[in-house]
Every structure is written in C-alpha cells, then in structure tokens.
Symmetry: none
Subunit: 414 residues, 2 copies
C-alpha cells in the first residue's frame, strides 16, 4: 500500500512553524510496512487543498491530512474534504457532548465556534480526541476512487500522536493485512562523541538487508537505530536482538535506554530498584535536573528534594558551604561541588546527594574559569565521586549537557 | 511571484531525518516577499521527481529543489532536471578543480564518483559550495515555460543556508525587482483559551491585504502573528504598530511578549526593572519554574534560590510548613501554598516568594483532589495572592501549564 501525507496550514508555508508531523507519521507508516511516496504542504486555501487531496486520492491508496480541523475561520479541512468526496457534513451529538465536556472540565463555557467541530462527513469513522477539541475521522471512498482511504487528523502533535496510535495504526494494520513486520529498536547512549560510536559500529552501519542500522547524533545523545523486516514478530525480534547484542558488547556502559527510554527514567528505575533516595543541589543547572527527575511518574518515591542555590549567599545559608571555602576555591570548584553534594545529602536525609556547579555563561567567566566549566559530585555514605567537565555551546545547551552528564554519572554509580 | 519547494530524498519519506530546509527556505522567501504555495517531498525516484518538477514549473514561477546532488547513485536530481528541461549536462572544469581542492585540503584523494558533481545543465548559473562538494545551480527556462526559474540546492543545511544567502537571495531580489518589504510581528499571550482570543480579534483575522493576522495556539500559549507588506521599512512598521495597538487595546493584560520574547524573559525584565529579588518553593513543578527563570542570562541578579520540596517531610523541614496544617488541609491546598510562598520569602530574604503545589498525576489524586488541581501563591511583604487552577493533560503538560500560570501570575503582580 502507498500512502501520502498532506499537511495543511499557511503558517507552515510561511515558515512560522516547523512541520514535525510528516516525519513522525512517516516513521509510523514505515513501521506498518506502508510506503510513503509523497509528503506535501498546502496553505489554508480551498482550491489548492482540494487539488492536493484529489491528486493524492488519484495516486495513493491512503491519504493522511493533518491540520485545519480547528474551530476558526482559517480551518477549512472539513469543508474541503466534504466537497471533494461529495459527502454531506453530519452533526454528531456525541462529539458535541465531548467538546462541551472538554470545556466543562476547565470550568469554561464552550464557545459557539467550537460547534463547527462537531460535524463529520457522512459515513466517516470518528477518531476521538482525548487531548483537544477537534475529532479526526477516516473516510473510505465508495465512488470513483473506491477503496481509497482518507484519514484526517488534527495538526498539534500532542493531539495527532495519541490519536494515530490508538485508532489509525490498528485500522491500517488490519487494512494492509500483511504478515511482514518491520521492527525498529533505538539504543540511546551518552558520554561518547558521534565519531567514536561510528568507529565502534562501522561494520554494522553497512548491514545488508533485511537489517538497517543508522546513527543519529543529538546534543549529548547518540541514537543507534536498528530496523529489520521479517516474516513475523518473533523472527523480527530474534534478528533485532542479535544486532542489539553485538552493539551492546561494544558500547554497553554508554547505553542507558532502548526505544526512547529517557536518561531520567533509567536513573529513576535504578533508584527505585536499589531503594535509594536522592537529593540534589543545583547551581548552574538551575533546577533542570530536578525538573527532569520529576518528569517521571512515581518519582516522589525516590526523589526527596532539591535546592537551587543560585547565589553564594544561598550556598552558604542553605547548604552550609563555608564562606572561606568559597573565597579560597570559588563557587565553581571541585571543593564546592563536593561540599554541596555531601551537605544536601545530610540536610535532606537522602541516601545520595548529587551536586552541580558551573558557569553556564554568557557572563561569569574568569581568566582561569571559562564558560562551560562544570563540576559534578555525588555523595554516598563514606564516598564521594566528582568529575570536571568542559562543555561547549550557549547557556541552555550548557545547562542541558550538564544535566545529561550529572544524570549519567548518577546512573553509572548505581 | 510564487515559489514552491521540492525536497528530494527517500530518507525523508522514511522519516529518518527531519526536514528543516522547508521551514528555513520558506522564511527566507517570505522575507523576500515571495509567496510559497506548495512544499513537497519526493524520494530518490526519477519518475516521481520528474513529475514533481514538471508540476512545479507548471504552477509556480520559481521551483527550488533541495537534495539529491551528491556523488552516489541515489543522487538523481541532476539527471532528472537535465531531462525535464531538455538541457545537456556540461562538464565544468572550474567545478572539478574546486571539488578536487576540497579533498586536497583534507589531504584526501578525490573519489572518481565525485566527478559526476562537476556537471551542470547547459546555460545554468553555477552556485559555488564553500562547505561541501555539490555545487548548486539556477536555470532560467527558455522553452515553453519561459521565465520560469529552477534553483537546485544541496540538501545539508550547512551547505544550503550559506549558498542561499550568498547567491540565491540576491538573485531573487533582483528578479522580483521589488522594494516591497514584508514585516512580521508576533504577540504572545497566555491565560485565555484560543477561542476567546479568536472572538476578541475576529475582525482583524479577516484583515484585507496588505495585512494578515493569524492565530496560533500552543499549550498555555497563544500567538497572534501580524504580517504586513509595504513600500518600505518605515511604512511597514507604521502599519504593524497600528494593528498591534488595536490588538493590545483588547488583550493588553494577557500579552507578555513580542517577537518570541519568552514569559520567563518578560518576568526577568520586570524583576530587574523593579529591582526585586525572587525565591521559589516548587512542589508539583519539580524545578521547572526555576529552570525556566535561570534560562535567562543575568538571572542571578534577581533570582536567589529555589527549594523543590517533593515530599511532605521536605515541606516541613525545609519550609517550616506546620505538620498540623498539612494533615488538616493537605499538601495540595490553598493554605499550604500560602505558607510555602511566605516561608520561602522569609528563609531566602528575597522580596518575593512564589510557590506552587499540586497534583501532576498520573497518581496522587484523591476523591476531592483530582489530577491537575494546582495552587499557586505569591507572597510580598504584607500581601498574599493565591489562585486555584484545574489543568488537563499528562504529567509533563500539567507541570508546564502550572509553570506558565505561575510565571504569568508573577508577571501580572509586578
């Protein structure tokens, strides 16, 4: 089966927003074994949208549109699809109720405009939206383009993604009726540059079909993606496991997660399993590590507290760092990092104290201490680990790289 | 003039890479006053690429292709363009030398494959590549599609971006022959749903040319984008200011920034201007507010510290919340939020204390306190403000919405 994706929105053509839906949908369709031959974007213009949908239904089995389902006058997808497919728009009381309760939960009155969203083309399958107000829908063509499928999804990724996973993927899987399975596994690692990872798996990057291994570098994160095609799920898993074992044998200590598992989740799982509690003293990261740790549901089981000491005064009063130590070694120093880790552990009563102090820039550097200099320390009873880092980039990048290094040091120490 | 962008590459259709070129080029074309009506992506397939280019030349004045100019067999752009335009490929000794010296600089021998890149269509204008090996080119149609322009650019952004800036932008500016200036201003606001903003500016959203006003909703953030076209920069600014004043008159208190200014920056500027210092007590937001505040360079001037009290124990020991109050009202209550704000202010010696306590979920809800219930309080000497919120979404979304509401409450209180 061939699919094509049509993104709708003048703001995309103006370059005002980055279109991430096409990549996300293409990946999902690839996993379903469906080929994507075209991606396109048109603005909120009825003629051009109608033409794009007609062309799509003409050359592809499945046309997926994203966007233009909102309540405003700019949102024309519903009307255009109704016209192109010659299907009347039908009012759905069920959708209207759902939209109404969406506003009700926030103690708001539903604006009249939103009632437009309670219509779908006659005969369409409704895709419920659990996040926003716009429902999606699937129409199977019965006229000239018999058998062709049109799937209309909302534009915001946070609405589109769960809707696709819950309704569209199972629907398409059934439609394709294919036994071939494409499986993808991603191995995430940090602490090595891309070129070093590349060198370690050079042979695997050239794997012949049905295996593909790709390397993708992001800031302080390298992903190796294994993709295999096999007759069934079991065979695919066996093949993927084999490649995974080869990679793991070479890069084990750097790999923190699989299939999108975040570093903070890996740390959380290790803490929960070891039944250890954590407290954090942050300076240059400004709360980012604590924010990441608490993104994991259930983190209150192992995370006790954090203090963001953004001034020397706070370091002294909140973490009992001796003023003499700060004047002698500086707030950004191995000595201060160690004191911070030890004292946050004692103050909080946690099993582990983690600390970060550094210079995120653009100001704050001195002759001997450049922007990007960061000290990280971990304190457990009778033991201290510390490490010095030199990070590159802008302020937020240095904060992120510091948080990544701190979480990874913690992960490896557990 | 109308333009369209065609991205070429099977890896984009497979979802293996995120296509950022379309957004980047669309922004540049918008600045040049050139309308983009279509963006599309096709794979490394000669038939489909030829069809896309033909369709493009048929409906647009300018077709810009990106990608497929590399030295491998997958790279078909050159051949396909030569065929579609019926123009022979000519060997350019100048390009060959340039490619050769590109390898020479890295002390490498030029692979034979790269000689393919030394060809361009007859009569084309060469666009030198100072970063990689693939030159770009511009062909002006002289046959049926007389006057139509085809611009072929390499795919990697680090090659495409400088090439566009150095050669293509000046070329197109001359071609359009226009002094017209396009200016965009974005007004960011929070605290109102999209439909409410829509209602307040409905008339402006329908502004006739040369003004366009668009509304873009993100989580806890609404952007109104004003775009105008005028004879010169001064006229454009006057026109934009006029629309801005109209919008501000209706939505003033919700607007926190212009042209991408973040809420945390707006808060920081107000704090710096008022010479006030801030301390934060975070519970359900887990450090996110503090992280956002410290993303702003120079925030150490007004931000003293934060305590992330992720357990009742920490609330009691670090913020002196009376245990009796927690058992009577609960950790998520107006009373606890107020105590947290007051006590963090006293402990830190800051002028302002900000606190957040709530249930980010998915666990932690009770019969009377659902996931998404959040209390925010601000303490200044002799005054307390507090507010109750009911947020929807997953854990991270509730954290983000809480941080947005807290920062906005703080901004409005200043």
């Amino acid at each position: 089966m061939k699919a094509e994706i049509i993104s709708i929105g003048t703001e995309i053509l103006l370059g005002q927003i980055l279109n991430t839906n096409q990549q996300w949908l293409s990946l999902r369709l690839c996993e379903l074994g469906i080929d994507v031959y075209h991606q396109s974007t048109v603005g909120d213009n009825p003629q051009r949208l109608a033409q794009a949908i007609r062309q799509g239904l003409n050359r592809s089995d499945i046309v997926i549109t994203t966007g233009g389902l909102g309540p405003t006058v700019d949102d024309i997808t519903l009307d255009v699809i109704s016209r192109v497919l010659s299907k009347k728009l039908i009012y759905s009381k069920k959708i209207a109720c759902k939209i109404n309760s969406h506003f009700g939960r926030q103690c708001l009155k539903m604006p009249r405009e939103n009632l437009r969203q309670a219509h779908i083309p006659e005969g369409a399958k409704i895709l419920e939206n659990d996040v926003g107000t716009a429902p999606g829908f699937i129409v199977e063509e019965d006229g000239e383009a018999k058998g062709r499928i049109l799937v209309a999804l909302p534009g915001p990724p946070r609405e589109l993604n769960p809707m696709f996973g819950r309704f569209v993927a199972p629907y398409l899987k059934k439609k394709t009726g294919s036994d071939w399975v494409i499986k993808v596994r991603t191995l995430s690692m940090t602490g090595l540059p891309e070129s070093a990872v590349d060198r370690k798996v050079k042979d695997l990057l050239k794997s012949p079909p049905p295996v593909t291994v790709g390397i993708y570098a992001k800031p302080a994160l390298i992903e190796l993606k294994i993709m295999v095609k096999a007759k069934n799920g079991k065979a695919a898993k066996a093949l993927i496991d084999k490649i995974d074992r080869k990679i793991s044998a070479r890069l084990k200590k750097y790999i923190f997660g699989r299939d999108g598992e975040t570093l903070e989740r890996a740390v959380g799982e290790k803490l929960a399993k070891a039944r250890k509690t954590l407290a954090i003293a942050e300076s240059c990261t400004g709360g980012l590590i604590s924010d990441r740790i608490t993104n994991i549901p259930g983190s209150s089981k192992y995370f006790k507290m954090a203090i963001v000491v953004y001034s020397n005064e706070a370091k002294i009063s909140q973490l009992d760092i001796p003023p003499a130590a700060i004047s002698k070694y500086g707030a950004v120093s191995r000595q201060t990092a160690i004191e911070m880790a030890r004292n946050i552990r004692e103050i909080s009563g946690a099993d582990i104290g983690l600390s970060v102090t550094g210079i995120a820039g653009p100001t704050g550097a001195t002759r001997t201490k450049p922007v990007g200099l960061v000290y990280i320390a971990i304190s457990v009873p009778k033991k201290i680990i510390w490490k010095e880092f030199h990070f590159k980039g802008e302020r937020e990048m240095i904060k992120f790289r510091s948080s990544q290094a701190a979480l990874d040091l913690l992960r490896r120490s557990l």
